[in-house]
Symmetry: none
Subunit: 210 residues, 2 copies
DNA sequence: GGGCAAATCCCCCGTACGGGGGATGGCCGC
DNA sequence: GCGGCCATCCCCCGTACGGGGGATTTGCCC
């Protein structure tokens, strides 16, 4: 079983930030800082020797980047948990870091208590993320599309009908589901085809799902 | 500008849970419950009328599923923020819900205070997730993802035909494009419907585009 | 050589679909 | 108040579609 204290290492090139993180960890009950490194290379060398459970990793390191460091670290020690800690909220960097194996991603400026919470959370299988980061991540599952939606002037009702069509409903079923007549459904479909410049339900669905 | 209170609606089929959520919202300063519905259909009908900022959505609803409800709701009201609230931590459901447009995902059993925090967080652009969920989401970036896709037994020719269907071609056009007869296209389509367990080209296309 | 799946083609038949007309209210904007 | 969209409903008509039969050829596997 694990010891009662959570072993943490820090990889951060700014000496002041490194020192203050180290101090934060050391001065908090239940945490202990087993290493603080200024470069990714140094971290890769030392970390296997003193096995922290959690690593706080700056993303902007000299020479080897934080992302690369995470990738190699997770290769060496798959069980290690990494929380990125950075000023950058650049979307690409977030996904690069997550793909590389980071499990958490905090923006610098969070309260110290949040950092400690994140360490505990990541240790117990969570994925602590600043809310902005979490939203970016969730969005990546949603529509890869709308930077500027072409504003397909569909009315609410038309969207609703199209939604049913996209679920494979035939017109009669849509009519029943919406408690309107078959003819009304057909009317809505005509407007939909007109507005989307298509000629069939299949085309409409494809356009609807982009 | 927005009012100081956060307007919340609840979609949850269990009357007791619905009542207790409603009570939680109403009795918390800064929150107000503008609707509580037992079915997705009811929610879709009523929510556009009283415009909550945040919707708490159970995933396991009778008839229309919570996921479908989210999909249609986000279609109608793209700005609305949805937090799933469920006992299921099934990976597929999580991603289905996120793809459908949910921005948060809490497991039932979280402390009431966490629910209120989540509502505020999602309102301000965050993505509140239980730690288990967050980890699943993050993992989906790490695993070289093509884990699913069990190769739906379609033959090469069938995929080709389905591809054209998904581009809105009618059968005659597909026949011309592939230089085969209309009847052959129809034959392939029959096998496709059979293999995908669908009854129309529209359903087939939807399944094909996941 | 028999079995088998893929790919090709054919016919019948009912019906869902889409295009072309309409019509009626309701609500909004100017 | 009039034109505009919206939502609702109705008719006719041709055709694309899907389900139900088939058939043939090619190639592969055992």
């Amino acid at each position: 079983m694990q010891s009662m204290v959570t072993r943490v290492s820090i990889v951060e090139d700014d000496q002041r930030i490194r020192a203050s993180l180290s101090l934060l960890i050391e001065s908090s009950p239940g945490f202990c800082c087993v290493g603080a490194y200024g470069t990714g290379e140094e971290a890769l060398e030392q970390i296997p020797g003193n096995l922290p459970e959690v690593v706080l990793m700056d993303i902007n390191l000299p020479s080897m980047s934080g992302v690369d460091c995470v990738r190699q670290l997770k290769n060496l020690l798959p069980a290690i948990q990494v929380v990125m800690l950075t000023v950058y909220n650049d979307t690409d960097l977030i996904f690069q870091a997550l793909r590389a194996g980071a499990s958490g991603y905090l923006l610098k400026g969070v309260k110290p208590s949040k950092i400690l919470e994140a360490i505990e959370e990541v240790k117990h299988g969570g994925a602590p993320m600043s809310s902005y980061i979490a939203r970016k991540v969730v969005q990546s599952f949603q529509k890869p599309q709308p930077l500027s939606q072409p504003a397909d002037n569909l009315s609410q009702r038309e969207r609703q009908v199209l939604d049913y069509v996209a679920q494979g409903y035939i017109n009669k079923e849509i009519a029943d589901a919406l408690a309107i007549s078959l003819e009304t459904v057909r009317s809505h479909l005509k407007s939909i085809y007109d507005k989307l410049h298509v000629r069939s339900r299949t085309e409409a669905v494809v356009k609807h799902l982009q």
